[in-house]
Symmetry: C2
Subunit: 139 residues, 2 copies
Amino acid sequence: MKPVMIGQLARETSTKVTTIRFYESIGLLRSAPRTASGRRTYDASDIERLQFIRNGRRLGFSVDELRSLMGLAENPDQDCGAASAIAARHLKNVEARLAQLAVLRDELEMLSQSCTKARMADCRIMRAIGSGHPRPEPQ
Amino acid sequence: MKPVMIGQLARETSTKVTTIRFYESIGLLRSAPRTASGRRTYDASDIERLQFIRNGRRLGFSVDELRSLMGLAENPDQDCGAASAIAARHLKNVEARLAQLAVLRDELEMLSQSCTKARMADCRIMRAIGSGHPRPEPQ
DNA sequence: CTACCACCTCTAGTCGCTGTAGAAGCAAGT
DNA sequence: ACTTGCTTCTACAGCGACTAGAGGTGGTAG
């Protein structure tokens, strides 16, 4: 209930103190009110907001997307189409990266399997990276 | 056979001119010899080296890893254990990221499906991000 | 009184580029 | 000879999302 200082907020949200200050500096968190000696103080709504940010980041939303989402949340009567559009777009991006990464893994697997413990000069891994064709070479 | 200038090298390796200069500045490419008027000149071995770098980057190797790999290549008689270790470690990293990303996708999918075109104030997506539990809520 | 911690500000570094500004080189066309 | 237009040069700022460090102040416990 009572306001907490930055270290407490950090502990409660598994965030580094410097990160919280960083979020304030980029306007993702409001400028926290200060004590007489200049220390930032936070209340329950700040904890909630930071938790939203941390979870959003964990889910891969960019700071800009989070800014948009939190901006939308300020009009509670609007429908959430815009918000779900952001989530859907993000999901699509994640799926695309996932597909890319799967291709990469396959290439790297072939590359790794091609190693025959040779001299560097004959190393198939090195040749595969150089040629851009990470397939096991025809004998 | 004859040396080429930076633009030509860029075209032959699908690399931007600025990127080539950047690689030189971080010591990934050697300092290219210059013409009388100060322009960089490259030969066949530079093309090969840059191709290695580009393919390595495409495969997700970090600049440091490429530096190591190219350093190892300078001792052609050593065995390629160190090189294949780098590749194996990288493959492991890629596999780990792939797994993480798959979890993320599943969470985002649940989150997206939970949308019922509500008012922002009732939006399940927003609540899911906030709570860190992107499961469709029990009504 | 002093040690120690939490807090403050400000700056710079990370990674792998990309983009810009402003100057100079160079070949071809008029 | 001059102009046009491309390429190249250097040097530096910016991206995203932090992280780390220096150097200082505030508040409290022993």
